[in-house]
């Protein structure tokens, strides 16, 4: 395929300019990947995934274990062959099932950081980092150029003194930095990260996260970053793709995902949430009314396009709720018993109950409310999101995120 090689030759010059200068770094369309398990059953690890990544974006793929994040990353890298769909990298087709195109990984001109770092143990740090420079076809660099670029990469990740070491002689955090330097050295437009921070301890992880963000913003590469840690996702991402068993459940900025979750699954996966199920009793232009076993709930959120009589669920974040001793002047209010008050530093969490409904409320102020005392809980209609009830049932087995339990009736 001489044409590929020719194209490949100039990938090191930044972004192939498109007609209007906005060629996406990655474009994925209708991607599907099936795996056959040892027992013969089939898993749809990627199920009709479509998305675009613009140059310079930091995209985080977020989802629970086994939802297909790694598989998606590996198909983009060319390490796994999808069954169907199209993958374009920097405007070039890397994979297209219909047209029989499947570029091997070494032709895709991207970098990847593996969860285990995958540093070659028989090479020094310098050799590890120089490897992409000496391997890429059409990238003829002089020895001096290679040295300069390796040293630059080492300096960028802050370990200039380690170039003669072997990987086994370094700490986990240092190995992580070497892996990062190896990904940076060839100046690729796209770098893939598969949970690169999950093997280092919490302190180092935080440090590396900050460095990674500033480096990405400075160097301007596009990043596709896999994690199942929502804090990490929020901190790093310009946009987050929440993955649910092979599909993208929502793709948006961290704010969108948090304040306007598209499905109950997303709402439950990101942050803590309170839920009340009910039936739509009125739909107006600027609000929706739900009849629930715990009274009427009014919401300003009309985006779900619900009809009167349909089942729906009202959701709101704990920090949007209020706890008052006096009856508040809001439509959505409940007379509740305070089960527990927990001071966690930045806020106080109250567990409240009204009949068989329980909910959580976060208040920035600490008030010494006695357990069992009675009080008023309320939430403004502007802070309530309404979604169809059928959606997101049997949501994910949510792990590792605080307060994801729904307190539905």
């Amino acid at each position: 395929m001489p044409s590929t090689t020719a194209v490949h030759d100039d990938t090191t010059s930044r972004a192939v300019p498109g007609a209007d200068g906005a060629t996406p770094s990655v474009r994925v369309e209708g991607l599907r990947k099936r795996f056959r398990r040892e027992d013969g059953s089939e898993v749809l690890a990627i199920n009709d995934v479509t998305f675009d990544v613009a140059p310079g974006e930091f995209i985080v793929l977020l989802g629970p274990s086994g939802c297909g994040k790694t598989t998606l990353l590996r198909t983009i890298a060319g390490l796994e062959t999808p069954d169907e769909g199209v993958i374009e990298i920097g405007g070039r087709t890397a994979f297209a099932s219909q047209r029989g195109i499947a570029q091997p990984p070494e032709r895709r001109g991207i970098s990847m950081i593996f969860q285990s770092y995958a540093l070659w143990p028989h090479m020094t740090v310098f050799k590890n980092i120089a490897y992409p420079l000496t391997s890429r076809k059409g990238l003829r660099l002089s020895r001096a150029d290679i040295e300069t670029r390796v040293r630059t990469a080492l300096a960028q990740v802050g370990i200039p003194e380690l170039e003669g070491q072997y990987p086994s002689q370094m700490s986990g955090g240092q190995q992580q930095r070497v892996a990062l330097a190896r990904a940076l050295v060839s100046n690729d437009d796209l770098i893939l990260f598969d949970e690169p921070l999950s093997n280092v301890d919490a302190k180092v992880r935080e440090q590396l996260r900050l460095e990674l963000v500033s480096m990405q913003r400075k160097l301007g590469f596009s990043a596709l970053f896999v994690t199942h840690d929502q804090t990490e996702a929020m901190e790093l991402a310009t946009r987050i793709a929440v993955v649910d068993s092979g599909r993208i459940a929502q793709f948006g900025t961290p704010q969108e995902i948090y304040s306007a979750p598209a499905t109950r699954y997303v709402a439950r996966f990101i942050g803590a949430i309170n839920e009340i199920e009910g039936v739509v009793s009125a739909v107006e232009s600027d609000h929706v009314v739900l009849d629930t076993p715990h009274g009427r709930v009014v919401s300003r959120d009309t985006s779900a396009g619900l009809l009167v009589g349909e089942g729906a669920v009202a959701l709101w974040r704990p920090e949007r709720g209020h706890l008052d001793t006096e009856e508040p002047n809001t439509v959505n209010r409940w007379r509740v018993t305070v089960d527990a008050a927990m001071f966690v530093g930045s806020h106080t969490e109250y567990l409240v109950r009204s009949g068989d409904m329980s909910a959580r409320l976060w208040s920035p102020r600490f008030e010494d409310v006695a357990s069992g005392s009675s009080s008023w809980a309320s939430v403004s209609p502007a802070d309530v999101r309404v979604l169809p009830i059928t959606d997101g049932e049997g949501g994910p087995a949510v792990t590792g995120s605080i307060g994801t339990t729904g307190y539905s009736a």
């Binding site: 070039r92 029989g100 285990s116 995958a118």
Partner: protein, 594 residues
Amino acid sequence: MTATQTPPTAPAAPSLDPKPSSKKPGGIRRIGLFDGVTIAIGLALVAIVVIPLLRVLIGLFWVDGQFTIDPIVRTFAIPDLGELLINTLIVVGGSSLAAAVIGVLLAWLNERTNARMGVVGDALPLLPFLLPPVAGAVGWTMLLSPRAGLLNSWFRDFVSLFGIELETGPFDINSWYGLIMVFTFYAVPFVYMNAAASLRNFDTSLEEASRLSGAGAIRTLVKVTLPAIAPGIGAGLLLCIWFGFGMFSIPSIIGTPAGIDVISVRIVQLLTFTYPPETDIAVGLSGFVVLFVGLAYMMQARILRKGRFATMTGKGSRSAVTDLGAWKWPLRILMLVYVAGSTLLPMFALVIVSLNGYWTPNIGWDSLSLDALRIAVLDDFITRQALANSLGLGLAGGLIGIVAAALVSLYVARNRTAFARGLDVGIKMPAAISNMVIAVGILLLLASPPFNLSGTLIILLIGYLALYLPQASIAADAAVSGVGKELPEASSVSGASPSRTFFRIYLPLMVPGLVAGWALLFIRMVGDLTASAILAGTGNPVVGFRILEVFNGGSYALLAALSTVLVLITATVLVLVMVYARRKSRFGITTKVG
């Protein structure tokens, strides 16, 4: 699948796409040169095993171009067939059972009790490599022959202090117990390795739960530990049986003088020491070997299928060690005595006899010299030729075997297709077939027209390769899996072509494993007697053949000298490889991933 696109997307990018290649949808790549060569090599390896095997099986029914059951009839007409079969079963069965008991005990002591000694545990599986079976059999003859046996003589001197005078004995290596004992020494490592591996992977919390339920250490061992490692023991036993039926050197050196005939020895006699060779009957007897080893395989498969052995967690905690109390030191000493007795003692006997120049219990400690060794080995033309041939075959055969096996292992690891799996099964198949049978098949196939390879080094090379292929393949598998998946993937993503990934990543990382595999093959090939007895002759002598010739000629000092040289070669290679492996480990190629 929600595709919220914050930035505007460009219309279809300018046509920078690679042209659709001849690849099929789904990205099935054409078979490259690299894979093509590998496949050819793999098929050749499988062919040198399968075709000789088919030749033997067909030979049972097809003689001189027509269908016949004559070989079978004539095999059943062997006057002492019953005795031959029973002898073989007693030796193989007895030694396998003894090996199972000793092997499991040693493995348990070394893996699970505070009597363990790391060095002994590491050394145990290596012992038979240090002392090839031929040399071991000769060494034990030197020690326990009724008249001149060194141990016997020393024992007689000792008891004479108490006024007990003995003329001969009291022990006799040329006996049932002598034969089974030496067989057992060589079978123990098979059980030990498998049992030790199972014990290492065994979840110790099961044992702890049993102890907490009130069962004692012994009861726990019998009720919980042993059943859980049964598959490991079964695999070890299977190897013992396979080894026993194919073993030729020990029964010919120890059993034949005692009048204990076994199948393997008879096959060789029929083929090489009978004129004209009784090929038909040899083939018929080989059929029995195929049958017995096949039965052992089926039993093993049934054991594995019956139990749900799902206790392996791969994370045996090392802390769970049984405290043996007062038994610790006695058991340790027992282990050391076993190691010394099974290996060091016969080695010592070989060295002493060869330095002494002749075999006598009255060793002239002052007159020990290398002269005898020199005269016996270096000044003898045929022996020199045999040594040169063996070394050459070991070097070349080991190299060819391990490189070919590595290519196939790599191919199998990267292509999970039915064809690749078939190749893997094919290359490991000799492990299921007795060495004896393959050697017979190769003789029948290649010694006659159109090949006429009889008496050449080529036929020996092919024979050795076919026989020791499974060992090569297993060593290569370990080397490939040690590299893992992500290291080569990281290389591909970095832009390296498949061949660059092979030479820069796979090969350097596999070299330590491949060197160890090569050493193993080298030692097996140099110390081989099975293929050598059948395929070598005066035209293409090798060490194993020469040892057999000298043994039949009755020159014991020369026999000891030859065996000593064999041990020296083997030990040198082993030590060099171990030193090399230690140096390599500084990379800590434990960064195992994937």
